[in-house]
């Protein structure tokens, strides 16, 4: 059971991270980010459920809230990119480098 849950958790996390690394579309990358957070949250929830720790479960709720806030900020930034007339892709945003 442990292994199965953690395998799912890590797999989802890895998928999220891969999206972040491999995909250029900012929205997809945001998706990957959310995937990472939620994959980790699975671990928290599973840990809390094993011991019935209410603190752990409330932590999971808090994390979901934080993730939501993060998503809002991410979306607003992506919107800014749209508004500046650029396509929301990481390839475009390479003015700063070196």
């Amino acid at each position: 059971m442990n292994q199965a849950v953690w395998a799912v958790c890590f797999a989802l996390f890895a998928v999220g991270l891969s999206l972040l690394i491999l995909r250029r579309e900012l929205l997809v990358m945001l998706l990957g980010l959310e995937l990472m957070v939620n994959a980790a949250n699975i671990g928290v929830v599973y840990g809390a459920s094993l011991t019935g720790d209410a603190a752990g479960l409330s932590a999971a709720l808090l994390i979901i809230a934080v993730a939501a806030a993060e998503a809002v900020i991410g979306l607003s930034l992506i919107l800014r990119v749209y508004q500046s007339g650029r396509s929301p892709e990481s390839d475009v945003l390479r003015e700063l480098r070196g």
Binding site: C9, F13, G16, L17, L20, L26, M29, L30, L33, M36, V37, A39, A40, N41, I42, G43, V44, Y46, G47, A48, L50, T51, D53, A55, G56, A59, L62, I63, V66, A69, E70, I73, G74, S76, L77, I78, R80, V81, S84, R86, S90, L93, R94, E95, L96, R97, G98
Partner: protein, 453 residues
């Protein structure tokens, strides 16, 4: 402990929260931006005063204040002041964001629990993304930098959470007192990667030069001192979970790699903010080395003087340097040419700061480096120590190059028009302590007393 006592611990945070609400409210009530800014400054000053008068105590399961948190809180609020004074606030948004970020830092300082650390981390970071995006009037590059900051920071947050989950699963608790073991080590390493990201350790630093370059100078000062100090506190909390663990033992090497990489990369930069960004990496490397040495020596709060002093000195030096950029409007190294003659006062202050950043006695930067080296020596970290010495030499290379630009190069025939802003007062306020703290070692006695509270 009673709720009232916990509330007493949280007084600075409450002032900040109240200030945040007040700023938002004043904004909706269409008060003048000037008033809003003053409100923000007042809130920060109040938080600083309360933090200074706080009595450290154990608190409850989630919050508590020890010497480390106490001292760092002072750094956080003090480091926000240059930004607060210099920022251009046309509405309530920017002040609110600053206060929000500071609140996150304040929470970080009093966290006695990994979850609280996470909340503090996110709360200090999220407003920062927006502040970066709003820099330079929301210029394209600023948005680009914010996007990078956001995605990289988000990934770091994800890593922290994964580490938290691992830690929680194996330790059955989110407090700092777990039984330890492999799961804990792995969790610490994952969480620690988020801290290293915040400090800008190689190779988790690539966001840093872009962000520092695209932000307003005063914001970069804030990011590189206050937020970096937050990252350092996070790092120390995590390293203290297992002072002899693999993560702690890896830190000196990360520190050495970071400072060498940062110093080398800074050598050929032409744009000043990017140069100072890489230079701040070099300083971060020293700090990480200091944290590694601190952990190796047992991670007792009272022994953290080296790191604390470094941060305190760096607060003055870097904020001063960025307020110089603000005050003179210089953007590239060529802009500095002949400034020594054209603007002798600002140039003199900047020269002092550069020497301090370079670690030349009698400045504060010297004593800061000395303490780090010393700690590393005491912890038998000889090879990282030698690398640090090399890093100090490399770092001096670009600071001297800037001094050379400032004084030895003649201004070009048609000097590019600079857009000087305010900041001379802040510049000198930073330069004087940076100049003399190095020969004021009694400050250290005071600091170690604070840390031992």
């Amino acid at each position: 402990m009673s709720a009232a006592a916990v509330g007493g611990l949280l007084a600075p945070q409450m002032v900040l929260a109240a200030g945040l609400l007040g700023v938002l409210g004043a904004g909706m009530a269409a008060f003048s931006p000037k008033f809003i800014k003053s409100l923000m400054i007042l809130a920060i000053l109040g938080a600083f005063a309360l933090a200074f008068g706080a009595h450290p105590g154990a608190g409850d399961a989630l919050v508590g204040l020890d010497g480390l948190g106490f001292s760092w809180q002072l750094v956080f609020y003090a480091a926000a002041l240059p930004l607060a004074f210099l920022m251009v606030a046309e509405s309530e948004v920017a002040p609110a964001l600053v206060l929000g970020s500071l609140l996150g830092l304040g929470i970080l300082a009093v966290s006695a629990n990994l979850l609280m650390l996470f909340i503090g981390l996110e709360l200090m970071s999220l407003p920062a993304y927006l502040l970066v995006a709003r820099s330079r009037g929301g210029a394209k590059t600023s948005v680009e930098a914010a996007i990078k900051y956001f995605f990289a920071g988000g990934a770091a947050g994800g890593l922290f959470l994964l580490g938290l989950a691992l830690y929680y699963f194996t330790q059955k608790t989110m407090s700092f007192a777990g039984p330890g073991g492999f799961g804990a080590e792995a969790g610490i390493a994952l969480m620690g990667s988020a801290a290293l990201f915040k400090i800008g350790a190689f190779p988790l630093h690539f966001w840093l030069p872009d962000v520092y370059e695209a932000s307003d100078p005063e914001l970069t000062g804030f990011l590189s001192t206050a937020l970096k100090a937050g990252g350092v506190l996070l790092l120390m909390r995590l390293a203290a979970l297992s002072p002899a663990g693999a993560f702690s033992r890896a830190l000196p090497w990360f520190g050495a790699a970071t400072m060498i990489f940062g110093a080398v990369l800074a050598l050929k930069q032409e744009r000043l903010q990017r140069l100072l960004a890489y230079s701040s990496m070099a300083h971060a490397g020293n700090i990480i080395l200091g944290v590694g040495a601190w952990a190796a020596l047992g991670a007792s709060p009272a022994a953290a003087v080296a790191v604390f002093f470094y941060l305190a000195a760096y607060l003055f030096m870097n904020n001063g340097a960025f307020s110089f950029l603000k005050a003179t409007g210089a953007k590239t190294r060529a802009d500095l040419h002949g400034l020594g003659a054209r603007n002798p006062k600002a140039a003199a202050a900047f020269a002092v700061l550069l020497l301090a950043l370079g670690g030349v006695p009698p400045t504060a930067g010297f004593l800061a480096k000395l303490l780090i080296f010393w700690a590393a020596f005491k912890a038998h970290l000889y090879i990282p120590l030698l690398l640090a010495a090399l890093g100090a030499l490399l770092a001096l290379g670009y600071y001297l190059a800037l001094l050379k630009d400032l004084y030895f190069e003649d201004a070009p025939a048609q000097a590019p028009a600079l857009e000087p802003g305010r900041g001379l007062a802040v510049l000198w306020t930073c330069a004087v302590p940076a100049a003399v703290l190095g020969v004021a070692p009694w400050v250290l006695t005071y600091m170690s007393r604070l840390l031992a509270l």
